[in-house]
Each structure stands twice: as structure tokens, then as C-alpha cells.
Assembly symmetry: C2
Homo-oligomer: 157 residues x 2
């Protein structure tokens, strides 16, 4: 039922729709276009990598991540987005996407995955915590846009 695969340039329209849904959820304006996504994600020097989750053949979610670095600990991945469409939730798709990114992190000798947790992510934050992410209970680091985030880290150790 669930298939997770690397995205290609042909997935850009689907990906843009999914990011649009994510932006609506986060109440943020979306400045990025399909053209920008194509150039930055699927060109010669790609700035990010994308996994697409399909459930019953339909696009159900995605993960976007890129290389990150800590001068104290070395290589890591930064998980920019992990999103599952509302109608596909409760099928452990988010956890499967996260596990796939974690497998890549381990394969590439990263110490862990960095990410931001959003305060109103009531579904995702407990999953992250169960998987060993440190998520502060109170997310009090509020940005001018009104979103409150916390830096989290899933460590392979």
C-alpha cells in the first residue's frame, strides 16, 4: 500500500501542491514556484533532496532534506519539511518517511537529523519524541511570523 521513493523532476507539480498544502497548514505565504523547485532540487547542483510517499498509488506526503553540518559533531541532515496529507494520516506514513531519512543519515555517516518542531504540531511532535527526538515541552522561541519552533535533534547514537 505504502511506497516511498525518491522524487524526480516529473514530480514537481505534485510536490508544489503538497508544499502549498503544508503552507496553508502553517499559515505561511508560499513564495516558491514550480520553476524554482525544478532548478534548485533537480538541477546539476541540487540544493535539497525529496522523498515522495504514495499510499494506494496516490501522493500522500513528502519529506525534503539537505546536508547540514555541525563543527562540533560533523555531518548531519536537516529535515526541512515532513508532511502527510490530512486524509492519509494515522497510517504511520510520517514515521515511515522519517525512518527513511534516518536510514539515509546513517548510511551517509551523519550523527543525526536536525529539524524544527512547530508548537501546534500535536500529531507529529509525540511521534518525534517516541522516536527519540528531543522536543522541548514548551516551544517559546517565536518568530515574527507568529510560528513557534524548537530545534530538535534525532541522534543515531
Amino acid at each position: 500500500m505504502l511506497n516511498i521513493r525518491q522524487a524526480t523532476a516529473e514530480d514537481v507539480p505534485t510536490l508544489h501542491s503538497l508544499i502549498q498544502e503544508m503552507a496553508e497548514y502553517e499559515h505561511l505565504p508560499l513564495l516558491i514556484t514550480e520553476q524554482i523547485l525544478t532548478n534548485d532540487g533537480f538541477g546539476v547542483q541540487a540544493k535539497f533532496r525529496v522523498l515522495i510517499a504514495e499510499f494506494g498509488g496516490n501522493p500522500a506526503g513528502y519529506a525534503i532534506f539537505f546536508d547540514s553540518y555541525s563543527t562540533f559533531q560533523g555531518r548531519s541532515l536537516f529535515l526541512e519539511d515532513l508532511f502527510v496529507r490530512p486524509e492519509f494520516r494515522k497510517n504511520k506514513i510520517g514515521r515511515a518517511l522519517f525512518s527513511r531519512v534516518a536510514a539515509i543519515a546513517i548510511q551517509e555517516n551523519c550523527f543525526g537529523i536536525m529539524l524544527h518542531a512547530l508548537d501546534r504540531n500535536e500529531l507529529g511532535n509525540p511521534v518525534l519524541q517516541e522516536d527519540g527526538c528531543y522536543v522541548p515541552r514548551q516551544l517559546e522561541n517565536c518568530l515574527p511570523e507568529g510560528q513557534c519552533i524548537a530545534d530538535c535533534c534525532w541522534s543515531r547514537r
Copy 2:
């Protein structure tokens, strides 16, 4: 007096010493070695870029940054470290390093620079604010290691 230049593999011993000083300032254990820095920063697929600041011919500070991405806004740089040795402070070296990274961000069509501000950085945070970074007044997002950080963004707009 002040010279800012791109680091090469020959700078790794100096760079490692500077990172060691930064780690002592942040009370964090340094896991990274000269060998890891050489492999990850100066190999075929470098994970980060380094600027070295020399003042009167002596290594005075450094900046380490890498490509970052926002699915809402597009390309950015993540400024991982910006450090000036205590004896070289008050010479606007930090601001010069920051300006150089900002110039690269503009040149590479980035929307801005992402960074973490540390709560006890009494010298650096006001500089960032003067340069237009948003730094929350209260940095309440504390990690288990005891450091309190805030996500900041310098935007070219």
C-alpha cells in the same frame, strides 16, 4: 590590517584550533578532528565553506557556512559558526566576516542567512540586530546541553 579569505586544506590545523577555542567558549565537547575537517570541508563534495579572518597577519577568526533551503522562500546560507578570538575583538572583524557571508548570499541569489544566536553572546547579538537580524529578546529555547539558542534570519530584502 584585516584580510578575509577563503580557507584551504592547509588552514585546517589553524581552523581546528579556532573551533577548539569556540567550543571552550560554548562549553561544548569538540568531537571533530583535523582529519574529519579535511575530508568534509576540502574534499570533492565539501559539506561546508570556510572564511578565515587575518588581522595583522595573524589568524583572528573564522566563519563556517553551508547551503540551506526553505521550501517557502528558496535558497539561503546557514551560518554555523562565526568566531573572533577574544584578543582581536572590538575591531569589527565579526561584522566584516558577516558582511562577506552576506555578499556571498546575495551573489548566490539567497533570500537570507539563517543562524542560531546564543543567549550569552552579549557582544555578537547586538551587532546582528544592528545589521537587521531578528534576534528574540528572550532566548528560551534551551537544549539539553544547557545552551539557549534562537533562530535568527538576516534577510536581503
